[in-house]
């Protein structure tokens, strides 16, 4: 089955992101395809490389980055939600005149159309959040 995943909550405050991580890993292990992971609402906070949890905590951002690199996952961060919450890549930095960027490896910022397109292309949408 081809899945598209939506993550609606940030890391640490809510279990949604780790549940999504576990689901994606299990789906890939079972031979399914993950077409795209779309980060929306506070879910965009999963994509900042400035995240620095204590060493004995799961590093959720790095775990996403590693999983993306290993399985060539498409991790897409909603641009409108990202702008509201200060998630910036090089393009957004330039466009909005910011003094830096913070996007983690493996993530890219794009529009909501990527979520809708994912829903059209995939067999099933899985939403993680409340």
């Amino acid at each position: 089955m081809k899945f598209v995943i939506q993550v609606n909550e940030g890391p640490y405050n809510h279990e949604a992101s780790t549940s999504a991580l576990n689901f994606v890993r299990a789906a890939l292990d079972a031979g399914h395809e993950v077409f795209r992971v779309f980060f929306y609402h506070d879910g965009v906070n999963n994509s900042t490389r400035y995240t620095t949890p204590p060493q004995d905590d799961l590093h959720i951002v790095n775990t996403w980055s590693e999983l993306a690199s290993k399985h060539d996952l498409d991790l897409v961060v909603c641009v409108a939600a990202a702008q509201r919450r200060g998630i910036v890549d090089e393009g957004e930095q330039e466009r909005n005149g910011k003094d830096g960027n913070n996007i983690a490896p493996g993530f890219r910022i794009s529009g909501l159309g990527q979520l809708v397109e994912g829903c059209i292309q995939a067999d099933r949408l899985m939403v993680f959040g409340d």
């Binding site: 609606n8 929306y40 409108a80 909501l112 159309g113 829903c119 059209i120 939403v127």
Partner: protein, 135 residues
Amino acid sequence: MSDIKNFLYLNRRAPYGTVYAWESLEVVLIGAAFEQDVSLAFVDDGVYQIMKGQDTSGLGIKNFSPTYSALGDYDVQKIYVEKESLDARGLTVEDLLDLKYEDEDDDWAEKDSIKVVSAEELAKLMDESDVVLSF
């Protein structure tokens, strides 16, 4: 692009207090460009999203409820509201925005978009949808 799918946007939360309602509406507006079969449903506190006479001046945030009136222009013609959720909050369809669309198959006659449905009917609608986006 693949065949047209049935998209159901399920709105469950009050319009203010969290950003979910507004960010759901943003997906609906962007998604309209993909020309899918779109329905919106309002349940639980989500019914407050489409109430008449919203005034956010005390909140210091934008009142986005006028945007729902534009949905007809985005070809969103099916808006379902769960009866049980209205009843539990002492509301009727009279308390809701007067949302309309123009029916191109009927000489562009203006028609009501809102349809009040039971929880059972809504469950069936969800079951029949290809994609349920829950906010």
